[in-house]
């Protein structure tokens, strides 16, 4: 959750404790619902006058600080008690450790409205489910800094993941990686043929490592470009949803037409129609106007940050689009969540030069 947002929303309900967060541009939302059975003891507490349970949000950093070192926690902590004291305005997290040591953390909280992304997996046209390991192995081929990735249902039951580039100019400078998985690697596949969506890889990676660690299969529900994609994990005591906004069709139109999608798959037969002969001949014979005749070299690619930027520190421009974080704009949240945050080309986002290869100290 900390990879997505800066604030942790705690919402106790009768069906369990829900931990949620949203990113600053309102393009990523995640919720973890722990059923009462997950806990040794669970009391949702008395209802408020409005029939709802008390909700609050705390700073992610503060909450994480309590659980700082997992290995040492596992060794020393016997029990953890989480107590919400509305009257004292404190969220108490108490760790009962070995040797009679009790560590009590009092975290300040803010009251808040219900944080809920509007989504309905039933209405999603496509879904697929795979063991987390398969998806983790797929994602590893992409550079860690890659922002957006496109998931596509290709011909012949092939499911592909490809890094997304915003415009044609990038295409001649950036390395394009595409991974094809066969349908039978998935537990269920119900993808609308030719469908594709583009989403931010960063938040997805976070969920993926959780899924891998818990050994749970991951389900992906998506619809048309622009409508959010929902990633879910389910087990007896835990229900997890990650909802990410996707790029709408206008950006998707910049992708090569679907017919060419076929040629992305390595053809078993040799075909030399794409060879360089004619290109070389053209180069040899043409006279270049500029001094250097060498074609534009693959320099470092210029990349604009992921449109669904989730890191608030990096992009001040993002604040203009989403509501100011910290205030309770959750009524606005619902309307902002779909589409409007990701206007084409990300206006107002100044392109930053993001170097994908490590900077050596040399003068190259």
């Amino acid at each position: 959750l900390s990879r997505i947002g800066d604030e942790l929303y705690l919402e106790p309900t009768e069906s369990g404790l829900s931990l949620r967060t949203v990113n600053s541009s309102r393009s990523a939302f995640a919720s973890f619902l722990f059923a009462p059975l997950f806990f040794q003891r669970y009391e949702a507490g008395g209802s408020q006058p409005d029939g709802e349970h008390f909700r609050c949000k705390v700073l992610m950093k503060s909450f994480l600080g309590v659980f700082r070192s997992l290995p040492s926690l596992e060794k020393t902590v016997g029990k953890c008690l989480i107590l919400l004291k509305p009257q004292a305005s404190r969220l108490v997290v108490q760790l009962h450790c070995k040797y009679g040591v009790t560590k009590t953390h009092n975290l300040a909280f803010q009251e808040c409205e219900r944080l809920q992304a509007v989504f309905d997996t039933q209405r999603c046209a496509s879904s697929l489910c795979a063991p987390a390991r398969v998806l983790a192995e797929a994602v590893v081929h992409f550079p860690p800094t890659l922002a957006e990735v496109t998931l596509e249902a290709g011909p012949g039951g092939r499911i592909s993941l490809r890094n997304y580039m915003e415009d044609e100019a990038e295409r001649s400078k950036t390395m394009v990686t595409e991974l094809c998985l066969a349908e039978d690697e998935f537990q269920t596949v119900a993808m609308a043929p030719g469908s594709r969506i583009t989403f931010c890889l960063k938040e997805f990676r976070g969920l993926l490592s959780f899924a891998e660690a818990s050994n749970l299969p991951l389900t992906i529900h998506y619809d048309v470009p622009g409508r959010p994609v929902v990633f879910s994990l389910d087990d007896a005591v835990l229900e997890v949803h990650l909802v990410l906004a996707t790029l709408s069709d206008m950006e998707s139109n910049l992708q090569p037409p679907k017919a060419n999608g076929l040629s992305h798959l390595p053809a078993p037969s040799d075909d030399f129609t794409d060879d360089l002969e004619s290109y070389m001949i053209a180069m040899e014979s043409s006279a270049y106007e500029e001094g250097s005749g060498v074609p534009p070299s693959p320099t470092f690619p210029l990349r604009t940050p992921c449109a669904a930027e989730s890191d608030p520190e990096e992009e001040e421009e993002e604040e203009e689009e989403g509501a100011v974080p910290g205030t309770p704009p959750h009524k606005k949240f619902r309307s902002l969540f779909f589409g409007s945050v990701l206007s084409p080309g990300g206006p107002g986002l100044a392109p930053t030069q993001e170097v994908l290869a490590e900077d050596s100290d040399g003068d190259y």
């Binding site: 590893v140 081929h141 001649s172 990686t177 090569p256 040629s263 360089l276 040899e284 060498v294 693959p298």
Partner: protein, 283 residues
């Protein structure tokens, strides 16, 4: 046209390590393909700080299949401008692959297409393709990338164990921007740095001096030279550190040729790869 395939995992691993070494030395370099060899070339432009590199591999030692066709029969070579880091990244996750194919394509723009066939639990393999944009270098520029000749050096000496040399240089790097390499024909080498506050010298002995047969019988600067006298050059320490840090395997032979106050020429030889690296002396 160019297409090649690696099937053997240890060849793949070895090739990846060569690419990783090159990636550490140059952000962009020239890949020259002939029907028997691959070359990674960095020519001594001012942008590189005057450093140049020449790395040569025999394709037969790495590839199970290798076919190339140059521009014309009498110029059966291909010169490409590549970013080795991209190659490195593409190969990084390919280590468990069943096969790796490399092909030169020109769909939207010239690319090296690396297709990795990975094992999977399902009936069909997983295929990962990486399209790496490259620049095709026209024939009229090929002269820029000729093999550098061995300079007329004053001293030639084998390098100390690279790991040791690397850790010495790494520590010195924190103290100074430049380092002096000096060596003589008695197998002694010193690495020296000197700042306002401190000077540090590391002495190496008994390194041995490689025998060089003079090609045309005339005396080189090295012959007739007093064996105790040191030839030295002051070079950018970061460039030296980069060279040493990039080495992933211990070379079979490692030596350097020093042209006093001009240039240091490093030669690192492995079984099937040779790497030459030139670092000019600082003014």
């Amino acid at each position: 046209r160019f297409r090649a395939k690696i099937v053997d995992p240890s060849c793949l691993n070895h090739f990846s390590r060569v690419i990783n070494t090159i990636a550490k030395l140059a952000k962009t370099c020239t890949l020259r393909l002939t029907d028997s060899k691959l070359y990674f070339i960095l020519s001594d432009k001012v942008a590189n700080g005057g450093v140049s590199m020449w790395c040569e591999l025999c394709q037969g030692n790495f590839f199970d299949e290798f076919q190339m066709e140059g521009v014309a029969a009498e110029h059966n070579e291909i010169y490409l401008e590549v970013v080795p880091e991209n190659l490195s990244r593409a190969l990084k996750t390919a280590q468990s692959a069943k096969a790796v194919k490399i092909k030169l394509t020109n769909r939207h723009c010239p690319c090296l297409r690396i297709s990795v066939e990975l094992p999977s639990l399902s009936s069909s393999s997983r295929i990962v393709t990486h399209d790496i944009p490259v620049g095709v270098i026209p024939r009229r520029l090929w002269n820029d990338f000729r093999e550098p000749s061995v300079p007329d050096f004053d001293v030639s000496i084998y390098l100390p164990v690279l790991k040791t040399m690397k850790s010495v240089v790494e520590r010195m790097k924190n103290l100074s921007n430049s380092i002096v390499i000096e060596a003589n024909l008695s197998g002694e080498m010193n690495l020296k740095i000197e700042t306002d506050l401190v000077s540090v010298t590391t002495h190496f002995k008994d390194l041995g001096n490689p025998p060089w047969a003079s090609e045309d019988g005339c005396q080189s600067s090295a012959q007739g030279r007093d064996t105790e006298s040191m030839a030295e050059a002051r070079i950018d320490i970061k460039k030296l550190q980069q060279l040493l840090a990039g080495q992933q395997v211990n070379p079979t032979k490692a030596l350097c040729n020093i042209v006093s106050k001009r240039i240091v020429h490093f030669i690192l030889l492995h079984e099937d790869v040779s790497l030459q690296y030139f670092i000019p002396a600082l003014a």
